[in-house]
Amino acid sequence: MTGTFLPLLIVVPLVGAALGVLVPAAVARVLLVLSPVLTTAGGVALLVTHSDTPVLAHNVGAFVPGIAIPLVSDTLTAVMITVTGLTTTACIAFARITGEDRLRFFPALVLMLSAGVNGALLTGDMFNLFVFIEVMLLPSYALIAMTGTWRRLGVGRLFVVVNLVTSTILLIGIGLVYGVAGSVNLAILTEMDADDPRFQLAVAVVLLALVVKAGVVPMHGWLPRAYPATSASVMALFSALHTKVAIYAVFRIVQTVLDGAERWTTPLLVLFAVTMLVGAYGSLGERMIRRNLAWQMIAGVGYILLGVGIGTQLGLAAGLFYMVHHILVMGSLLLASGAIERAYRTHQFVGLSGLMSREPLLAVIMALGMMSLIGFPPSSGLFGKVGIARAAADLDGFRIWLVLGAVLLASVGTLLAMSRLWANVFWGPPFDEMPSRGSGRAEPPTVAEDTRVRARTLLPAGILLLTSLAIFVVPGPLWELCLQAADGLLDVGPYVEAVTGS
């Protein structure tokens, strides 16, 4: 595979999106399945290529480096494309099984979303990062407005306003970077003096916008409100793509442009530790399955970004490993919750009870997913947390205790939140003995005696969970890839060489 293939990862879904509007709905639904499968295959091909070529770059249209639109792929990009492609495939499979992809513009919008994600992961230029993030967000606005409960109409406004204001801040930051450095090409920015305060300020504005999009405390409030109002498959899609693309950009920009953030280690570690704790304990106030999980997403953002805070090779690799684990497990849990909603028409605690004896397969999937989220074996979560703890052990003095204490306390919070979810949804009396279903405002949905979650709606969640379990059994290959990706972030020489061609 050479660099000239890189634009295909963006063009194929984008053309698919255009076709998705034009062709009959049945054909569009085939395109919808085809595109993420091809993306995943492309990601795997990139991973294979990067075992001997560290970086692939392509200047679109063969313009001069610095003026051209650069697309760059290294191990970090390839890992992200593979994992997001896999999770997107699972979400789309779920949407297909439940019939959600029959909404007329659903295929076109999801394809455009995945084109934006691939573009944001591949681009080597800050302004194109902004453009691709917008390409990713615009279809998301429409997806929020058309799927889920009617609550989405109020929440859609929140999501649009937060993201648009954040994008404006990102744009101002990029303008400032251009003003200071005269370029927004990441490879050229590596030559800038990272100690120049004007340059630091400009990059800081860019990073501020990215951490708001990632959902870092105290800018997290929009996430647990907006996401659960959409349907389960769209929420799983957003959870795998949106916040993770922002985190990817933070990894990339902090390491290549600022040469790490050593001076800021302590404030960053405190910030991310607070994010983990707020996210982990935030679930305790929620009474719906997916709102519970949305808070755990914020905790996950904290864990992943600890990798940047620590900033060593081990730290970056551990953060990346945690990101892969988190995308898979969160996707699995959200899709399993979607299967519950499909059968029982609610994801409120008050409307669900005693599912453990009623739905053994679902209970197994959810239980393993929750254990993975907490960090218990047998799941990828164990190694995710072990990696972060190991990387933290290389820090000095009180920082070790800060990180380890936060990991421990946040895990306890997740454990409490998950046991609360389990006790409410999976334990308790069977449906016909429940005092009342529904929240009191609306008629409780009636559950027939023979209502069961269909096995095939659990298939996508099951596949994602199996991937997580496979990572527990054989963590070696993924860990090697993460170390390789961390090397690519620390030594930007090959990256610069591939982009500028010198």
Partner: protein, 111 residues
């Protein structure tokens, strides 16, 4: 030289004030002001007061303004315009952020 920063400051201050107001239409106006502020910041990074137009045949290329930020601004304007239209549509559909009853959206599908 001070006109541009002062204009940006006024636009951003006004935009922030409007964003804090209730009602989506005010917020839309606020976002419009904010994005104009952002566009001027972008322009300021390329076209400073002492530079000429970046057109061939109108002078020495080394004196011409940088055309790249103008391309940035153009892209940003298009994106903001699209989102503004979408937000105005949202303002028309719902009544407020805590819409207590299901509004009539003309949909008939169940998801």
């Amino acid at each position: 030289m001070t006109v541009l920063p002062i204009t940006v400051a006024i636009l951003v201050a006004g935009g922030t004030y409007l964003l804090c107001q209730p009602g989506l239409v005010r917020i839309v106006f606020g976002i419009t002001l904010l994005s104009h502020g952002a566009n001027l910041v972008l322009l300021a990074s390329g076209v400073s007061a002492w530079r000429g137009e970046p057109l061939t045949g109108t002078g020495d290329p080394s004196d011409a303004g940088d055309p790249l930020p103008m391309a940035f601004v153009l892209t940003a304007i298009v994106i903001t315009l699209a989102v503004t239209v979408f937000m105005l549509a949202l303002a028309r559909i719902g009544h407020d952020d805590d819409t207590p009853h299901m509004p009539d959206t003309g949909e008939n599908h169940r998801t």
